[in-house]
Subunit: 228 residues, 2 copies
Amino acid sequence: MNSYQEKDKFYVAVDCIIFGFEEGKLKLLVFNRKLNPFKDSLSLIGSFVKIGESVSDASKRILKESTGLQNVYMKELKTYSSVDRDPGFRCISIAQYALIRINKYIKNTVKENQATWFDIDIIPKLILDHNLMVSNALKRIEEIARYKPIGFELLPEKFTIPQLQSLYEAIYRKSLDPRNFRKKILSFDVIIKLEEKDKSSSKKGAYLYKFDHTKYQKLQESGYNFEI
Amino acid sequence: MNSYQEKDKFYVAVDCIIFGFEEGKLKLLVFNRKLNPFKDSLSLIGSFVKIGESVSDASKRILKESTGLQNVYMKELKTYSSVDRDPGFRCISIAQYALIRINKYIKNTVKENQATWFDIDIIPKLILDHNLMVSNALKRIEEIARYKPIGFELLPEKFTIPQLQSLYEAIYRKSLDPRNFRKKILSFDVIIKLEEKDKSSSKKGAYLYKFDHTKYQKLQESGYNFEI
DNA sequence: ATAATAAATGTGTTTTTTACATTTACTGTT
DNA sequence: AACAGTAAATGTAAAAAACACATTTATTAT
């Protein structure tokens, strides 16, 4: 019971399930491995946790290295620890899911890192148990989206209501009524209408909105009900 | 990046936050440590994960050893990995919360293990970051109870509606209207009324109910909305 | 027979959710 | 300048769910 044995020490890894949203589709960031093991295979981005850092430090480090981003929405998903999960090492991995805003800067960093955005409906075979991690993460964000306003994390600073709707449609995998959606979102009193319009997808243009960060924060903390 | 260094290996522990429900109160199972380090201090029950087992195997093993129970509702809470969390070892702990039914059998095993049930409102100082784990777990079950029928895990096979209500009152820390509570619970169509009554808390007696396990399972999987 | 106790029950009101179709603002074309 | 095309924006009535609230009932102990 109290027998601390050197043999019972583990490598601890983190793997990051990075989601983005673009062109009405929820996307996953997949990396082409540059090094062995599994060189040239597809995988999530990950790393071993160093002895002098916490798991969340390690996740932040990896996210920074691979996308250049800091201060990202990232949460622990779960631990993957099957004895045979990694044929090379006895290694547990603590998966983290992150929601990021795709923009030009990200696109460049992503390219440098030999990474690709995949539509979540067509995720390729990834190494080890990474496909399982992805499907668990998708389930988790679907659950969380029902009571926390996480959807917003994936949108740019300025966004339109139809964009927000299409994001929720992507998360819930079903289509929503635009009148009811708009009504509900506005009832949260957390987005502010701007004068500008986005005309990229219609001639009429849709008004851009931004968050009221203070109210958004409160909603984030308190939780709420966003069953749609 | 790909430098696997022996020095970056960790002890991996699990700690179990075990909740029960008795006499209208939500309780936490706290153990008196029999061995060093921290001999005679209070703590959650835990153990190092062995190299040949998964984290969930380890949790099950510990729960079995400490309570005699198997097939318990147990879920991963989160990983605790601060560099300075344990002064003795560089050790991460993957906390698990469990919901169990308190009964005579448990009570004996618990006594043998020098464990005590503490009302969640008066939890003593525990070792390391265990108090943090407990408060995180309490928050988690409160969240989960809103969309999964976990409350039932804590009740005996046969239970009354007032008992179920007092459990939800303990989880949500507020009192509920008995008419509305009963109506909502029955609307889920997941409990079956028995002929027997429980007369331990009133002269009239309250009818006992049991779960419809099939429907209960479906509800558990699908999630639902249990905001009260 | 009576008192005491908690269990069981019903209804009207308010709030939220749902279903559903038309008009509007703007652009590009003729 | 008129027109066609496109997605955005809007309102309302009906149904369902949530809420607030008081009385009656079954049983035991005296």
